[in-house]
Symmetry: C2
Subunit: 399 residues, 2 copies
């Protein structure tokens, strides 16, 4: 039995992917750009095993067995990897006919709507590539066929998914913009929002947008190319204010496109909009753009903020969004707050205004947030040691 | 003392006006199209008096004295009317130097955010024109300078505001598309939604949109001209389904543009979106597009529906948006429901599904709506008799 275990990160788009020009190959109508989050706080973990004795492909996701051969996206990724293994002419460790057992877990709640499929497919492709002994050059184009944004989770730091021009999607790949070490103090607060509404899936939402929105064509053709270049420059120059403004504008434009769809797709709710208003009010209070929000196809907010400003932001957040669980360990997850940094960071006059409680952004309701995850920029997928395996090497089944 | 009293209607845009190319003259960046609502349910009423003994211009709005000569928009309208009176060379009943007393009231709550300024300025201009004895050909270009959409309230039925090309705005006028009698069974339910948020004013919101939204230019140049023509044809042919679809698409696109603004403007809230979802679910349940929604720069919904379908729609609405005050006379205002029409209208199988309660669109919260106004298509402004005056002819002051 051959076994490989890997982890892959979540990525959060700053210039959004919305709309395909090819549904089957998952080819987008515009480039997108994301930041990869540290796997310390959130990641997908996958173990893949191949054995001559396995009767059929089997897969377990977050503890439950799920269809494998009936899932066209998984099979597409698997076949592309097998073709690559053959084409590369590498000496195969085991015959390609051997059936696979795959076990995958996210270390964060999938219910949070936090791009779990991107991390999941990136991890699947990376793990299978490791198992087959394939170098990872062409992997992003394969992961893309599992879940579009998965291609961006195969790199760390800031990553650009080039839409490409080829019909077969061979040039629709993700490439690093800068590595995580370029801007290591880039932190993220994920605000998980309570929400009970039924939402249109991303796949259906973007399909319907391409079919019915007039504005999406203009966005893809004119707005995105300009923004991608501008935010890339801002990232390279570590110009946070420009970076933040473009990120917020593109998040809003993505939701504008969703609303311009018929029937409309609505992913942000009143709490999401309150968070966006809070961010604008906070930036106005401190006198410059210190925090950026971005929202994916759900109500949760991702706030981008430099490490040194996290404590003061958190204080303002907790004041504006009071929560009965605020002191509960389950409410604030991820990187702990460094109290010393907190004291230093509050040295400026504007910070004092906020920390002294003079900044107010009043929301009458309590408990609007479910919990907060504090994380930061991170690396791409990693191979783990055998002792991290999710599969019992004797039985070939999940532990 | 010369006295005139008039009423003017509210209008609801179906193709939205959003964005000025000239802030002072109030010249829009695109045509818009609206339906005038019956003055039986909602109107502005204005009395204007001129007297040699009045010392200064004075104005009372909804019972409170408000600035007159300090209000540039009112003064602009007044001066334009006076120029017109002079230019027309009509025999003036009284010297233009005489000061004016103006009393104006809305018969509906201004707090409802229901385009009260449009009705108000239309009524002001129409009443002053009557007082000065001016025929009403050029009045829409004058009312436009008070509040852009006011120009559309000077006609009944469906009305198109042509953006015009001239720099002085002389051709930025409103003209009737069809009169109210063309489609007399066009009814409207206004759902007034509870909302406590601070909102960006229309003036500021559209100014910011023109400055910061990329999408607004495309909308104004390409989307609106096409939609105006298509909805005009649908109105002329009384093709409700096409009419409804375009109206909903344009409402959504307007809110998409507001969201694409930086910082974003958010006018619809969760309840507004729930109403939109309800409408789509209802139309799906009855098998065709029988109801259309449109939302202005606030959370309230205007539902367009033909008279014969009002009872069944109301029943579904009351079931989906349960309200403790549902049987209260204050909750359902305007045109009463004809129980006989109700019985006849429910003859079709789909209606029965809804009326029998099989249609469900579950919202867990009660009392999301403040109240409902039932109204319909209506006429333009009207002169009223002396006994309707709001000004005491002896004192020159409000009653």
């Amino acid at each position: 039995m051959f076994i490989e275990t890997c982890i892959a990160p979540v990525n959060i788009a700053l210039i959004k992917y919305w709309g395909k020009r090819d549904e089957e190959l998952i080819l987008p109508i515009n480039d997108s750009l994301s930041m990869t989050l540290s796997t310390d706080e959130m990641c997908a973990k996958t173990t893949a095993a191949a054995c001559s004795s396995f009767k059929e492909h089997r897969m377990w996701l977050n503890g439950e067995e799920v269809p494998f051969e009936e899932n066209p996206r998984i099979m597409r990724c698997l076949k592309a990897l097998q073709r690559l293994a053959l084409a590369k002419g590498e000496s195969l460790k085991f015959p390609l006919e051997w059936k696979l057992h795959i076990v995958s877990r996210n270390n964060f709640p999938t219910a949070a709507g936090l791009a779990s499929s991107a991390a999941g497919y990136a991890c699947l492709v990376y793990t299978l590539a490791s198992l087959y002994g394939i170098a990872d050059e062409e992997l992003t184009a394969i992961a893309r066929q599992g879940s579009g944004s998965a291609c961006r989770s195969l790199h760390g730091g800031f990553v650009r998914w080039h839409m490409g021009k080829l019909e077969d999607g061979g040039d629709s790949i993700a490439a690093p913009v800068v590595s995580a070490s370029h801007w290591p103090n880039m932190h993220v607060l994920i605000l998980v929002v309570n929400d009970g509404r039924k939402k249109t899936s991303s796949t259906k939402g973007m399909q319907r947008a391409v079919e019915t929105s007039d504005l999406i064509k203009y966005r893809a053709k004119y707005c995105v190319p300009q923004r991608i270049n501008a935010i890339t420059d801002a990232i390279k120059e570590k110009d946070f204010e420009t970076f933040a403004k473009i990120a917020m504008q593109d998040s809003n434009q993505f939701h504008a496109i969703a609303l311009d769809t018929y029937p409309p797709c609505v992913y942000m709710n009143d709490v999401s909009h309150a968070i966006a208003s809070f961010v604008h009010a906070y930036n106005t209070a401190v006198g410059h753009t210190r925090v950026a929000y971005t929202f994916d196809a759900g109500p949760n907010a991702c706030l981008y903020v430099l490490k040194e400003h996290v404590p003061s932001l958190l204080q303002a957040l907790n004041k504006s969004f009071p929560n009965d669980n605020a002191t509960n360990v389950e409410y604030f997850k991820g990187i702990p707050i460094d109290k010393n940094v907190s004291a230093n960071a509050s040295a400026s006059a504007n910070d004092d205004i906020i920390l002294n409680g003079n900044f107010s952004f009043a929301i009458n309701e309590r408990n609007l947030l479910k919990y907060i995850i504090h994380t930061k920029i991170g690396l791409g997928p990693q191979r783990l040691n055998k002792d991290e395996s999710l599969i019992n090497a004797t039985t070939g089944l999940p532990f």
